[in-house]
């Protein structure tokens, strides 16, 4: 290793532990002296570089980070709050929607479901009878009037037909009660003229302000019921 190379190596890294440079130092006392000088210089440089660090810097750094992460947390809680509020609103809307919107899309389906729901409450051979006068009293709410009884009226009262106030009439039929609904017109439920399932069938008659729906079992003649309703009912304006 020539002198220049050695000097360069020592200058670049005084603590050089290469086999070459160590060997060169052992061979040549002047090189060793040079290396020691540079090591001393390096020690001085090191001393000089060690400028005093502000005492409070460490604490400042920790404090600043604590404040910053606190800010982030505050922002996070705000986001969480907003998120919770959104969920609550959506939940509320869903509840509202589910509770107040109808599960049925047309008159027929709803009428069938309604009849099935109250099937147990009416017996075909019940003894009580509602008079034409009291029926017409109730019909007054719909501006309607029956001129003659349609048959033996077992039950007549207001009920909720998909949230609407309607009149629920139960007549004695041939084998099972015949149900007649007087329902105010509504856009929510689609009008269906005729509908049926395995046991029951029904039909609707459309009037100006109301629909009249007849639901009966398959032994009844719906046409006959429809005809007598159409003939006896009259509407005042």
């Amino acid at each position: 290793m020539d002198d220049l190379q050695f000097r360069r190596a020592i200058y670049a890294d005084p603590n050089n532990q290469d086999a070459d440079t160590i060997a060169a130092q052992q061979d040549d006392a002047s090189k060793k002296q040079f290396a020691q000088d540079i090591c001393k210089l390096d020690e001085k440089i090191k001393q000089a570089l060690q400028i005093p660090v502000p005492d409070d810097l460490c604490h400042k750094l920790i404090l600043r980070q604590t404040l910053a992460s606190h800010q982030v947390q505050k922002r996070k809680t705000r986001v969480h709050l907003a998120l919770a509020a959104s969920v609550a609103i959506v939940g509320g809307l869903m509840l509202n929607f589910m509770q107040f919107s109808s599960a049925y899309t047309n008159l027929g389906d709803y009428a069938l479901a309604h009849v099935y729901h109250e099937q147990g409450s009416f017996a075909n051979n019940a003894t009580n009878q509602v008079t034409l006068a009291s029926l017409n009293q109730k019909m007054a709410a719909f501006d309607g009037n029956f001129s003659q009884p349609l048959g033996k009226l077992l039950f007549a009262d207001y009920c909720r037909f998909d949230g609407m106030k309607s009149l629920h009439l139960v007549y004695q039929g041939k084998t099972s009660p015949v149900t007649v609904f007087v329902v105010p017109k509504n856009e929510q439920l689609r009008f269906s003229t005729a509908f049926n399932d395995e046991k029951l069938f029904g039909s609707s008659i459309e009037f100006i302000k109301s629909n009249i729906i007849v639901v009966a079992d398959k032994n009844e003649s719906l046409g006959q019921w429809q005809q007598s309703i159409s003939e006896t009912v009259s509407w005042s304006i």
Binding site: D13, L41, L49, Q50, R64
Partner: protein, 171 residues
């Protein structure tokens, strides 16, 4: 959360001194160096999860600090006045021989071109090898070694050129 906090505090305690000194030799201003270190540690906190190897922490922080320093110049153009000797002065009263020497040598180091002083600081203070410095500064190793050689050579020459009774004229 707690462990991250603990890691961060350990990192600050272990390395803030080295980092501050490095920043000081990069900027030559105490206040700027302090701000730089604060920014660096704040960034380090945010990215702490990406630091997998604790051994690499120092070079990781130095890389952040260098980037932060570069950003400082992007943000606003400093009037790049020539380095003034007056601004480097030590506020401590110069008493002992050793401190006199330190003070004098500090001026000389500060007068080095940044491209020479930076590897020197990294090697002497940071204890990094030539390869490490080369990676950090994005240079090749030979360039780093040459710069280290020139840095020491310049300091040595300056030291030899100085009259023996330096500093006395102050008092």
């Amino acid at each position: 959360m707690m462990t991250k906090q603990v890691r961060y505090e350990a990192l600050v305690k272990a390395l803030h001194g080295d980092l501050y000194r490095y920043a000081y030799w990069l900027t030559h201003e105490k206040q700027v160096a302090e701000d730089l270190v604060q920014e660096t540690f704040l960034r380090a906190w945010r990215a702490l999860d990406s630091l997998k190897d604790e051994k690499a922490a120092k070079s990781w922080l130095i890389t952040i600090l260098r980037r932060e320093n570069a950003r400082r110049f992007e943000r606003k153009r400093f009037d790049m006045s020539e380095y003034e000797e007056a601004s480097i002065t030590d506020t401590k009263s110069v008493t002992t021989e050793q401190e006199l020497e330190n003070h004098w040598l500090r001026e000389k180091i500060a007068q080095l071109e940044p491209e020479y002083s930076e590897p020197l600081v990294l090697q002497v203070l940071g204890g990094f090898s030539g390869e490490d410095i080369a990676t950090m500064l994005d240079l090749n190793k030979n360039t780093v070694m040459t710069r280290l050689f020139r840095a020491r050579n310049q300091l040595k020459e300056a030291l030899e050129a100085e009259p023996v009774k330096r500093g006395i004229y102050n008092g």
